[in-house]
């Protein structure tokens, strides 16, 4: 799922275009796309188009999400492959270039949705793993490191074990209430390891670190095993779009592992923004700055949030950070598909008539019998507030808004 807010307004054409955007047309297999379309009795294709359209949207409709406990404080290392295999151009512009682009987008989006989490980056090349950035919650640091020349030059082979060892040694030091994750983006099909990688994987499992991997070429049993053993996800990208989707999927925090299922109270400081008349030194970069945030405990100044106070080790945040992470914990309830009522009703989201909706979509089919479409139209109802929505609104609410407007309205009126 693309999670850029402005992408969430779905358009059929755009979606179709995206699906097709898998490479140059002449490299594609010859597809008889018209064979999948079936004309109805009237010889019209409108029904077929509508079904296709619906299918696409239903795919986007997120499956029933259980309200589960998710680790909002994530400590995550991204491992990306920079071996010679990543210079392959089967994913355009090349596996490595694409990886870098997507990681950049990922980093931004990650902190947008997981402001309390920390990221680090490890690059693997020449059989060695190198820590590119330390764990931190500052997206600009990571992006700067990624833009560095040296990670654009693939060479040598890949060693997953080396990368895992580095990540493990850091992650085992982070507080145990956080969710520890390693996220690999690999293009290589082999792992040239100095020792027994299976042992490393079981150590990682004992440390309750989760490994997730997106592969760019094919399924490697070892990678898959590493993921399934540690409770992560293994996936293989079909094409550029799919690759992006798979990587961005990782933004949603994973459910807490069962063995870690106990509650912790975490100390956090809600810092206050200050504008000084005279520049003062910040505790993070030791530079003279005018504005910043004050730690409520030791009153030292930091430049950006969220961060761990360099003086008293308190996690500093502001309240919007918490609230932004919140929707992962309490996902909007899934709407139920209901049969179309006899009386004409309007969508409570876009106020469009739920009956005429099909006509709007299939503009041009003027002599189309609206009675036949009415039966196929989908209406989704919120089980709490019993408001009805069309499919497009349903998706917008669940992907972008994260609040059911009907329910919010109801609770507001109750308070009043």
């Amino acid at each position: 799922m693309s999670s850029k807010p402005n992408d969430a307004v779905i358009d059929l054409d755009e979606q179709l275009l995206k699906e097709q955007e898998v490479g140059y047309t002449w490299e594609e297999e010859y597809k008889r796309s018209w064979d999948t379309l079936q004309e109805d009795e009237n010889g019209s294709l409108q029904n077929a188009v509508a079904t296709l359209n619906k299918k696409l949207k239903l795919k986007r409709k997120i499956k029933d999400k259980q309200a589960s406990q998710r680790g909002l404080l994530r400590y995550c290392y991204i491992v990306f492959d920079c071996s010679t295999n990543t210079s392959e151009r089967d994913l355009r512009p090349s596996r490595l270039e694409l990886t870098l682009q997507v990681i950049e987008a990922f980093v931004l989006e990650f902190f947008e949705q997981n402001p309390l989490s920390q990221l680090g980056i490890i690059v693997v090349r020449d059989g060695l793993a190198k820590k590119l950035t330390e764990l931190s919650s500052n997206p600009t640091d990571h992006i700067k490191a990624l833009r560095d020349k040296q990670c654009r030059d693939p060479s040598g082979s890949m060693s997953l074990q080396n990368a895992l060892l580095i990540a493990m040694n850091i992650l085992r030091q982070v507080p145990n209430y956080g969710s520890r994750e390693i996220f690999g983006i690999l293009g290589s099909l082999t792992s040239n390891d100095p020792g027994d990688i299976n042992q490393t994987i079981s150590e990682i499992k004992n440390e309750k670190i989760r490994i997730s991997i997106v592969q760019m070429a094919a399924e490697v049993q070892l990678f898959k095993k590493a993921c399934t053993l540690t409770g992560g996800v293994f996936s293989v990208a079909m094409n550029e779009i799919h690759f992006r989707e798979l990587v961005l999927n990782f933004i949603i925090p994973p459910p807490i592992l069962l063995e870690m299922y106990n509650t912790h109270l975490v100390e956090m400081g809600f810092s206050i923004r200050v504008y000084d008349q005279i520049p003062t030194f910040c505790s993070c970069h030791h530079k003279l700055t005018l504005s910043g945030y004050l730690c409520p405990r030791c009153k030292s100044k930091v430049c950006s949030l969220p961060v761990i106070c360099g003086v008293c080790q308190l996690s500093l945040i502001v309240s919007p950070h918490l609230s932004r992470s919140y929707h992962h914990l309490f996902p909007t309830i899934s709407y139920k598909e209901i049969s179309t009522p006899e009386v004409s009703i309007n969508c409570d989201g876009c106020l469009d008539s739920l009956v005429n909706l099909k006509h709007n979509l299939s503009s041009g089919g003027s002599n189309f019998d609206s009675d036949t479409t009415r039966k196929h139209e989908d209406v989704f109802q919120c089980p709490n507030c019993k408001k009805n929505y069309c499919l497009s609104c349903d998706i917008f609410i669940h992907e972008t808004l994260h609040n059911c407007p009907g329910c919010v309205n109801m609770s507001n009126s109750l308070q009043n």
Partner: protein, 701 residues
């Protein structure tokens, strides 16, 4: 279709249901190839029985049992078994002679009443061993005893096809038994092997020694207990009677010919006396030795061999026919326990009996040198059976129902022809798959458009070798984990690997994967296989070079990541210069009207199919099958592939160059790596009871 798709269970459930429906309860004899396969079939049968019991079909007294060699079942030491269970040793023990060790397990078994022996159920090999341990029975002899009363018997097909073993093991089966041959794609080869004998200098030397020892023993016995020999003489005079108790414990030297060809008359006079017979044997051995000194190749029919034999040594055909029977009787009379020392003589006796009994369909071939180029003589005398029908006929005649099945039985009309049987029903089934989980590709040329072939004229052409090499290099880049490459022969594999080494291709492969090679040595090969598996496990990836018709191609499965792709380099034709093969081809052409080329192509393609079939073990597995030879694209070869493979070769995949094959492979591997929901199989390749009922309704309408 590949294994793991439910062939065995379908066969078993159908036949068991049939068996239980009719009152006469026909016995099912299920023959399979290897011990693991037998055990798997037994496990399936066990599950089937459990299912039937749970779903309202309790079969009272249903007994399913498997049989393998003593080596796999015996709890004591295999080698000593014979000396602890032979009838004369036991008789001596009954007479309270001191220092005689008996096998307690065997004694327990023979003393307890037979009907009490085994509760009903299905016994896998482990179950059988456990049961034997519990009751203190010898599992091997228990199985041997029980197969005559069991409802389903699962064993290796040597017990059925090999006349020596059939006589021992399967002679009690009734005529209406249902005989099933599974994995029978190579059944003609087994039929032929069971009736062919090679004699080399080793065996001859050993038999000379045995004969000398026999002479000593006879002289000894004559001094001490002449009545024994006289008794034997009397028995032989009456005609040959097998003593019943001897059969209980394999204490006979097996007769290599078929029961129908056994002569039902008295042993000829000139070999009735023990000392005469031994001298007769000695003369025959010396004659064969003299023949071995010839330095040129001889090929003749059995009758011309006998003719010459008669001219030189005055040995007649008649006594020769009785050779193995007479030897068996002698061994019994002399109470010889260590039969292993007499294996050479046994072989010679079998050779004598076979050559004098059969004329049609056999050839005697003498080769003084191992290969054309070698100068050190290593003479071998082959008695080669050319006609698979000889061993198959008695089975077909004896039993009412014989089923021959395999995953790669194609073209199916070849088999009735070769085995000289009239098939009542021939049916070939395709396979339903939810996703097309294998991708067969025919690669005909390299990226430089030079065609690839293992044809003799071009096989060592550097351009061809290089193209083969680069196909492997490219594939090793794309395919994850395990990759298996098959070559037509060891010889070709050696030469091509040497050339790849010079060209630096091996180094390129080594960047992506480790390389392991199958050799003729079993120990080396199993070590290579083990390391290969390890490399696939830990993500390093590996390539296994192996040979069609080798051990790997026949018995080893490459499940999941152990084999994501198989490349078949060239077409695995047999070595056509082999004289035995030439003789067989001629025989097939003259007697069965099968053209040489048809048979060779059929044989090559069935082995190629066997090789590529290794990659797919079950419906959730996936893998690439690459046929790298331009000749596969021709219709005469393609049509011989099993239909489940052939129907998946689409037109655009049948004439690819290396680069095209690589890009299709990439796409295939990516799409196969997507998570596969088992529930998707429902309705297509996995039917619920409702689906079956619906189908039934459709059919009846």
């Amino acid at each position: 279709m590949p294994s793991g798709t439910g062939k065995t269970i379908s066969l078993l459930s159908l036949t068991v249901a049939y068996q239980n429906f009719y009152a006469d309860k026909r016995k099912i004899v299920y023959c399979s190839r290897t011990v693991p396969e037998i055990d798997k079939a037994l496990a399936e049968l066990k599950r089937l029985n459990k299912y039937r019991n749970e779903n309202g079909c309790p079969d009272e007294g249903f007994l399913g049992i498997g049989l393998t060699s003593r080596r796999n079942l015996c709890k004591v030491v295999d080698a000593r078994c014979r000396s602890m269970t032979s009838p004369w040793v036991r008789a001596r023990a009954q007479n309270n002679e001191p220092d005689i060790e008996l096998c307690s397990l065997f004694e327990n078994l023979s003393t307890s009443p037979e009907s009490m022996l085994m509760p009903s159920g299905v016994y896998t090999m482990d179950d059988l061993r456990d049961f034997g341990g519990l009751k203190n029975f010898c599992p091997y002899y228990l199985a041997r005893k029980m197969i005559s009363v069991a409802d389903v018997v699962i064993y290796s097909y040597h017990y059925m096809l090999d006349p020596k073993l059939n006589e021992l093991v399967s002679h009690e089966f009734s005529k209406n038994s249902i005989v099933i041959f599974d994995e029978a794609h190579n059944i003609d080869g087994i039929c032929i092997d069971s009736l062919s004998i090679d004699v080399n200098l080793d065996k001859l030397e050993s038999s000379t020694r045995s004969v000398d020892r026999l002479i000593d023993i006879i002289a000894d016995v004559k001094k001490n207990d002449a009545s024994k020999l006289q008794e034997e003489y009397n028995i032989l005079l009456e005609g040959l009677k097998e003593s019943a108790n001897a059969r209980d414990n394999d204490m006979v030297i097996e007769n290599p010919i078929l029961p129908d060809d056994l002569l039902k008359e008295a042993v000829p006079g000139n070999i009735r006396k023990a000392e005469h017979f031994v001298l007769f044997l000695k003369r025959f051995v010396e004659y064969v030795k003299a023949r071995m000194r010839v330095m040129h190749v001889v090929a003749e029919t059995p009758s011309s061999f006998l003719q010459h034999l008669k001219e030189v040594t005055f040995i007649d055909k008649k006594p020769l026919q009785f050779c193995s029977q007479r030897l068996a009787s002698l061994v019994r009379t002399l109470e010889i326990n260590d039969l292993e020392d007499y294996w050479g003589l046994q072989k010679i006796a079998s050779f004598a009996t076979l050559i004098s009994t059969y004329d049609e369909g056999f050839v005697v071939l003498f080769e003084p040198f191992e290969s054309e180029s070698s100068t050190v003589p290593n003479p071998i005398l082959h008695l080669a059976c050319l006609d698979a029908a000889i061993a198959m006929q008695p089975v077909v005649n004896r039993f009412d129902t014989v089923v021959i099945t395999s995953g790669t039985l194609s073209p199916i009309d070849m088999y009735p022809k070769m085995l000289k049987i009239k098939a009542a029903v021939t049916e070939s089934y395709t396979m339903t798959l939810t996703r097309s989980c294998f991708l067969p590709m025919i690669v005909t040329r390299g990226s430089d458009q030079v065609s690839m072939s293992s044809k003799f004229e071009v096989r060592n052409d550097p351009a061809v070798v290089r193209n083969f090499g680069f196909l492997l290099v490219e594939m090793s880049k794309v395919v994850p984990d395990g990759l298996v490459a098959f070559f037509p022969s060891y010889l070709y594999m050696e030469s091509i690997v040497a050339m790849w080494n010079e060209m630096g291709i091996l180094k390129l492969i080594y960047k992506n994967k480790l390389i392991f090679i199958e050799t003729p040595s079993t120990a080396e090969t199993s070590l290579a296989l083990e390391s290969y598996r390890k490399a696939c496990e830990n993500g390093r990836g590996a390539v296994l070079f192996s040979v069609a018709r080798g051990k790997v191609s026949e018995g080893v499965d490459f499940t999941d990541n152990y084999g994501r792709a198989v490349i078949m380099f060239g077409i695995p034709y047999q070595y056509t210069e082999s004289r035995i093969l030439k003789a067989r081809l001629e025989f097939l052409r003259e007697n069965y009207q099968i053209r040489e080329n048809d048979f060779l192509a059929f044989d090559a393609i069935r082995h190629a199919a066997q090789c590529v079939g290794r990659v797919l073990r079950g419906k959730t597995d996936y893998g690439l099958m690459i046929f790298a030879d331009k000749r596969y694209a021709r219709m005469d070869k393609r049509s011989k592939l099993p239909s489940w493979i052939n129907s998946h070769i689409s037109e655009e995949m049948s004439n690819l160059s290396t680069d095209m094959a690589v890009s299709s492979s990439k796409h295939f591997l990516k799409s196969m790596a997507q998570t596969f929901d088992q529930s998707l199989q429902l309705g297509t390749s996995l039917w619920s009871p409702e689906d079956i009922l619906q189908r039934k309704k459709l059919k009846s309408n």
